[in-house]
Protein backbone atom coordinates (compact mmCIF):
# COMPACT_ATOMS: atom_id res chain seq x y z
CA UNK A 1 0.00 0.00 0.00
CA UNK A 2 1.36 3.42 -1.00
CA UNK A 3 2.11 6.09 1.54
CA UNK A 4 -0.16 9.18 1.25
CA UNK A 5 0.98 12.03 -0.95
CA UNK A 6 2.24 15.38 0.27
CA UNK A 7 0.05 18.33 -0.70
CA UNK A 8 2.06 20.10 -3.45
CA UNK A 9 0.81 23.47 -2.14
CA UNK A 10 1.47 24.26 1.52
CA UNK A 11 -1.98 24.44 3.17
CA UNK A 12 -3.44 24.19 -0.34
CA UNK A 13 -7.18 23.65 -0.75
CA UNK A 14 -9.28 22.30 -3.60
CA UNK A 15 -10.29 24.98 -6.10
CA UNK A 16 -13.83 26.18 -5.42
CA UNK A 17 -16.30 26.66 -8.31
CA UNK A 18 -15.69 29.65 -10.59
CA UNK A 19 -16.94 30.55 -14.07
CA UNK A 20 -14.65 27.92 -15.59
CA UNK A 21 -15.66 25.02 -13.34
CA UNK A 22 -14.66 23.50 -10.04
CA UNK A 23 -11.51 21.70 -9.05
CA UNK A 24 -12.71 18.29 -7.92
CA UNK A 25 -11.90 15.05 -9.69
CA UNK A 26 -14.73 14.15 -12.08
CA UNK A 27 -16.07 17.72 -12.24
CA UNK A 28 -17.70 18.52 -15.63
CA UNK A 29 -15.40 19.82 -18.38
CA UNK A 30 -17.63 20.23 -21.42
CA UNK A 31 -18.26 16.76 -22.79
CA UNK A 32 -15.49 15.36 -20.57
CA UNK A 33 -14.79 15.01 -16.88
CA UNK A 34 -11.92 16.48 -14.94
CA UNK A 35 -9.27 13.79 -14.57
CA UNK A 36 -7.25 15.51 -11.89
CA UNK A 37 -7.54 17.69 -8.82
CA UNK A 38 -7.09 21.47 -8.89
CA UNK A 39 -5.39 23.01 -5.86
CA UNK A 40 -5.68 26.78 -5.45
CA UNK A 41 -2.39 28.63 -5.31
CA UNK A 42 -1.21 32.19 -5.88
CA UNK A 43 1.13 32.98 -8.77
CA UNK A 44 4.77 32.47 -7.77
CA UNK A 45 4.11 30.27 -4.72
CA UNK A 46 6.30 27.22 -4.16
CA UNK A 47 5.16 23.88 -5.54
CA UNK A 48 6.34 20.77 -3.68
CA UNK A 49 6.84 17.24 -4.86
CA UNK A 50 3.90 15.11 -3.68
CA UNK A 51 5.97 11.91 -3.86
CA UNK A 52 9.38 10.40 -3.40
CA UNK A 53 10.61 9.74 -6.91
CA UNK A 54 12.29 11.02 -10.03
CA UNK A 55 11.32 14.16 -11.91
CA UNK A 56 11.45 12.50 -15.30
CA UNK A 57 10.80 15.51 -17.49
CA UNK A 58 9.12 18.81 -18.04
CA UNK A 59 5.53 18.36 -19.20
CA UNK A 60 3.30 20.49 -21.41
CA UNK A 61 -0.47 20.57 -20.88
CA UNK A 62 -1.22 22.15 -24.23
CA UNK A 63 -0.32 21.14 -27.78
CA UNK A 64 0.35 24.60 -29.09
CA UNK A 65 0.69 26.92 -26.09
CA UNK A 66 4.00 25.86 -24.62
CA UNK A 67 4.12 28.78 -22.19
CA UNK A 68 2.26 26.61 -19.71
CA UNK A 69 4.36 23.85 -18.24
CA UNK A 70 4.57 21.22 -15.55
CA UNK A 71 6.38 18.06 -14.53
CA UNK A 72 6.07 14.31 -14.73
CA UNK A 73 7.28 12.50 -11.62
CA UNK A 74 7.62 8.73 -11.27
CA UNK A 75 7.34 7.58 -7.69
CA UNK A 76 9.72 5.14 -6.08
CA UNK A 77 10.17 3.53 -2.66
CA UNK A 78 6.97 4.12 -0.68
CA UNK A 79 5.44 5.67 -3.81
CA UNK A 80 6.41 2.96 -6.28
CA UNK A 81 3.72 2.58 -8.95
CA UNK A 82 2.57 6.19 -8.59
CA UNK A 83 3.04 8.56 -11.53
CA UNK A 84 2.18 12.21 -11.05
CA UNK A 85 1.66 15.04 -13.52
CA UNK A 86 1.42 18.60 -12.24
CA UNK A 87 0.46 21.40 -14.66
CA UNK A 88 0.52 25.19 -14.44
CA UNK A 89 3.88 25.38 -12.70
CA UNK A 90 7.37 26.40 -13.76
CA UNK A 91 9.72 23.62 -12.72
CA UNK A 92 13.15 24.40 -11.34
CA UNK A 93 15.67 23.57 -14.06
CA UNK A 94 17.82 21.88 -11.44
CA UNK A 95 15.21 19.24 -10.56
CA UNK A 96 14.60 17.84 -14.04
CA UNK A 97 16.08 14.36 -14.18
CA UNK A 98 16.83 14.22 -10.47
CA UNK A 99 15.42 12.29 -7.54
CA UNK A 100 13.29 14.19 -5.05
CA UNK A 101 11.73 13.51 -1.69
CA UNK A 102 8.08 14.31 -1.01
CA UNK A 103 7.95 17.92 0.17
CA UNK A 104 10.97 19.12 -1.84
CA UNK A 105 10.43 22.33 -3.77
CA UNK A 106 10.19 21.53 -7.48
CA UNK A 107 9.00 24.84 -8.92
CA UNK A 108 6.62 27.78 -8.67
CA UNK A 109 3.01 28.36 -9.67
CA UNK A 110 2.18 30.00 -12.99
CA UNK A 111 -0.47 32.65 -13.64
CA UNK A 112 -3.63 31.42 -15.33
CA UNK A 113 -5.83 34.49 -15.41
CA UNK A 114 -4.31 35.87 -18.62
CA UNK A 115 -5.43 32.80 -20.55
CA UNK A 116 -8.62 32.23 -18.57
CA UNK A 117 -9.89 35.54 -17.11
CA UNK A 118 -11.78 35.05 -13.87
CA UNK A 119 -10.36 31.63 -13.11
CA UNK A 120 -9.08 30.83 -9.62
CA UNK A 121 -5.33 30.44 -9.93
CA UNK A 122 -4.39 26.82 -9.33
CA UNK A 123 -2.24 23.86 -10.22
CA UNK A 124 -3.64 20.70 -11.80
CA UNK A 125 -2.57 17.45 -10.10
CA UNK A 126 -3.06 14.18 -11.95
CA UNK A 127 -2.22 10.84 -10.34
CA UNK A 128 -1.91 7.39 -11.89
CA UNK A 129 -1.59 4.36 -9.65
CA UNK A 130 -0.44 1.21 -11.44
CA UNK A 131 -1.24 2.96 -14.72
CA UNK A 132 -4.83 3.82 -13.77
CA UNK A 133 -5.95 7.41 -13.19
CA UNK A 134 -7.26 7.86 -9.66
CA UNK A 135 -8.81 10.68 -7.66
CA UNK A 136 -5.76 12.34 -6.07
CA UNK A 137 -7.91 13.30 -3.08
CA UNK A 138 -7.98 9.66 -1.99
CA UNK A 139 -4.23 9.94 -1.37
CA UNK A 140 -4.24 13.43 0.13
CA UNK A 141 -5.66 13.03 3.61
CA UNK A 142 -7.13 16.18 5.06
CA UNK A 143 -7.37 18.23 1.86
CA UNK A 144 -10.67 20.04 1.47
Amino acid sequence: MSKPLINPVKNGRIRKPDKWGSGGFGAPRGSRKHNGLDISVAFGMDILSPVNGKVVRKAFPYAKDLSYTGVLIEGDGVHLGIVVKIFYMSPLVSVIGTNVVAGDKIGTAQALTKKYPGITNHIHLEVKKNNVIIDPKTMLPGIS
Binding site: F60, P61, A63, K64, D65, F87, H124
Partner: protein, 156 residues
Protein backbone atom coordinates in the same frame (compact mmCIF):
# COMPACT_ATOMS: atom_id res chain seq x y z
CA UNK B 1 -51.61 -0.25 -65.05
CA UNK B 2 -50.27 1.77 -62.18
CA UNK B 3 -46.52 2.10 -62.69
CA UNK B 4 -45.90 4.31 -59.65
CA UNK B 5 -44.91 1.47 -57.28
CA UNK B 6 -42.35 0.23 -59.80
CA UNK B 7 -40.97 3.73 -60.29
CA UNK B 8 -40.70 4.23 -56.54
CA UNK B 9 -38.93 0.88 -56.07
CA UNK B 10 -36.48 1.68 -58.89
CA UNK B 11 -35.87 5.15 -57.48
CA UNK B 12 -35.19 3.81 -53.97
CA UNK B 13 -32.88 1.13 -55.43
CA UNK B 14 -31.02 3.84 -57.34
CA UNK B 15 -30.63 5.91 -54.18
CA UNK B 16 -29.41 2.95 -52.14
CA UNK B 17 -26.95 1.98 -54.84
CA UNK B 18 -25.67 5.52 -55.01
CA UNK B 19 -25.33 5.77 -51.25
CA UNK B 20 -23.52 2.47 -51.12
CA UNK B 21 -20.97 3.63 -53.68
CA UNK B 22 -20.74 6.95 -51.89
CA UNK B 23 -20.12 5.19 -48.57
CA UNK B 24 -17.26 3.17 -49.99
CA UNK B 25 -15.48 6.07 -51.59
CA UNK B 26 -16.11 8.73 -48.98
CA UNK B 27 -16.30 6.84 -45.73
CA UNK B 28 -13.58 6.78 -43.11
CA UNK B 29 -12.72 3.70 -41.10
CA UNK B 30 -11.78 4.05 -37.45
CA UNK B 31 -8.51 2.64 -36.11
CA UNK B 32 -8.26 2.28 -32.34
CA UNK B 33 -5.26 1.98 -30.05
CA UNK B 34 -4.07 -1.55 -29.40
CA UNK B 35 -1.27 -2.90 -27.22
CA UNK B 36 1.40 -4.35 -29.51
CA UNK B 37 1.69 -8.14 -29.29
CA UNK B 38 4.36 -10.44 -30.72
CA UNK B 39 2.07 -11.40 -33.62
CA UNK B 40 1.75 -7.72 -34.54
CA UNK B 41 5.52 -7.43 -34.74
CA UNK B 42 5.63 -10.20 -37.33
CA UNK B 43 2.72 -8.71 -39.26
CA UNK B 44 4.00 -5.17 -39.24
CA UNK B 45 7.73 -5.24 -39.60
CA UNK B 46 10.27 -7.48 -38.02
CA UNK B 47 12.55 -4.93 -36.50
CA UNK B 48 9.79 -3.05 -34.74
CA UNK B 49 11.04 -1.32 -31.64
CA UNK B 50 9.25 -0.86 -28.37
CA UNK B 51 9.11 2.86 -29.14
CA UNK B 52 5.89 2.65 -31.13
CA UNK B 53 2.11 2.96 -30.81
CA UNK B 54 -0.29 0.85 -32.85
CA UNK B 55 -3.77 1.87 -34.02
CA UNK B 56 -5.69 -0.76 -35.97
CA UNK B 57 -9.02 -2.22 -37.05
CA UNK B 58 -7.26 -5.51 -37.92
CA UNK B 59 -7.38 -4.71 -41.65
CA UNK B 60 -5.66 -1.35 -41.65
CA UNK B 61 -3.04 -0.18 -39.19
CA UNK B 62 -1.24 3.01 -38.33
CA UNK B 63 2.01 2.67 -36.45
CA UNK B 64 3.63 5.69 -34.80
CA UNK B 65 7.35 5.05 -34.47
CA UNK B 66 9.29 7.40 -32.19
CA UNK B 67 12.72 5.90 -31.68
CA UNK B 68 14.58 9.19 -32.27
CA UNK B 69 16.23 7.80 -35.38
CA UNK B 70 15.62 7.58 -39.12
CA UNK B 71 12.76 5.10 -38.58
CA UNK B 72 10.57 7.73 -36.93
CA UNK B 73 7.27 8.56 -38.58
CA UNK B 74 3.87 7.17 -39.42
CA UNK B 75 3.61 3.74 -41.01
CA UNK B 76 0.33 2.79 -42.65
CA UNK B 77 -0.41 -0.83 -43.46
CA UNK B 78 -3.22 -2.43 -45.44
CA UNK B 79 -3.65 -5.62 -47.45
CA UNK B 80 -2.09 -4.09 -50.54
CA UNK B 81 -0.57 -1.02 -49.01
CA UNK B 82 2.49 -0.27 -46.92
CA UNK B 83 4.03 3.12 -46.68
CA UNK B 84 6.08 5.22 -44.31
CA UNK B 85 5.23 8.90 -43.96
CA UNK B 86 6.96 11.75 -42.23
CA UNK B 87 5.04 13.32 -39.35
CA UNK B 88 2.16 15.51 -40.51
CA UNK B 89 3.08 18.16 -37.86
CA UNK B 90 6.33 17.13 -36.25
CA UNK B 91 6.14 19.41 -33.19
CA UNK B 92 2.57 18.33 -32.52
CA UNK B 93 3.26 14.64 -33.18
CA UNK B 94 6.23 14.62 -30.82
CA UNK B 95 4.22 16.43 -28.13
CA UNK B 96 1.33 13.97 -28.51
CA UNK B 97 3.57 10.93 -28.25
CA UNK B 98 5.61 12.29 -25.35
CA UNK B 99 2.60 13.31 -23.27
CA UNK B 100 0.48 10.29 -24.14
CA UNK B 101 -3.28 10.03 -24.57
CA UNK B 102 -5.41 10.51 -21.47
CA UNK B 103 -6.79 7.01 -21.95
CA UNK B 104 -6.64 4.39 -24.72
CA UNK B 105 -9.96 5.58 -26.16
CA UNK B 106 -9.11 9.28 -26.23
CA UNK B 107 -6.95 9.13 -29.37
CA UNK B 108 -7.72 7.39 -32.64
CA UNK B 109 -7.19 7.59 -36.39
CA UNK B 110 -9.69 7.53 -39.22
CA UNK B 111 -8.51 6.48 -42.67
CA UNK B 112 -10.12 7.09 -46.03
CA UNK B 113 -9.19 4.45 -48.58
CA UNK B 114 -9.92 4.43 -52.31
CA UNK B 115 -11.07 1.37 -54.25
CA UNK B 116 -7.51 0.31 -55.07
CA UNK B 117 -6.55 0.34 -51.40
CA UNK B 118 -4.59 3.57 -51.53
CA UNK B 119 -4.91 5.89 -48.52
CA UNK B 120 -6.55 9.15 -49.58
CA UNK B 121 -6.78 10.94 -46.25
CA UNK B 122 -6.57 10.52 -42.52
CA UNK B 123 -8.00 12.19 -39.44
CA UNK B 124 -6.30 12.10 -36.06
CA UNK B 125 -8.55 12.72 -33.07
CA UNK B 126 -6.95 13.34 -29.70
CA UNK B 127 -7.53 14.26 -26.07
CA UNK B 128 -4.13 14.66 -24.46
CA UNK B 129 -3.50 16.44 -21.16
CA UNK B 130 -5.64 19.58 -21.45
CA UNK B 131 -5.79 19.82 -25.27
CA UNK B 132 -8.41 18.23 -27.46
CA UNK B 133 -9.02 18.28 -31.18
CA UNK B 134 -8.63 16.77 -34.61
CA UNK B 135 -6.14 17.00 -37.48
CA UNK B 136 -7.48 16.43 -40.98
CA UNK B 137 -4.73 15.34 -43.35
CA UNK B 138 -4.63 14.63 -47.08
CA UNK B 139 -2.31 12.10 -48.66
CA UNK B 140 -0.82 13.61 -51.81
CA UNK B 141 1.96 11.94 -53.78
CA UNK B 142 2.76 9.76 -50.75
CA UNK B 143 3.16 12.73 -48.46
CA UNK B 144 0.91 14.03 -45.73
CA UNK B 145 -0.51 17.54 -45.89
CA UNK B 146 -2.55 19.06 -43.07
CA UNK B 147 -5.71 20.59 -44.51
CA UNK B 148 -7.40 21.49 -41.24
CA UNK B 149 -6.59 21.40 -37.55
CA UNK B 150 -8.90 22.10 -34.65
CA UNK B 151 -7.13 22.29 -31.30
CA UNK B 152 -8.88 23.49 -28.15
CA UNK B 153 -6.98 24.29 -24.97
CA UNK B 154 -9.31 23.44 -22.10
CA UNK B 155 -8.76 24.95 -18.67
CA UNK B 156 -8.06 22.33 -16.04
Amino acid sequence: MNVMPVVIVLFVAFLLGGCSTLGKSQGYVKLEYKEIEPSDREYLFKNIETCSNLYTNNKLSVLEVYCSNEKDGLYIYGDNYQHKFDWFDSDFNRWAIQEGCNNPESCFYELKVDESGEIEALNYHFWINLSEGVYRVDVLNKTLRVIQKQVADQPS
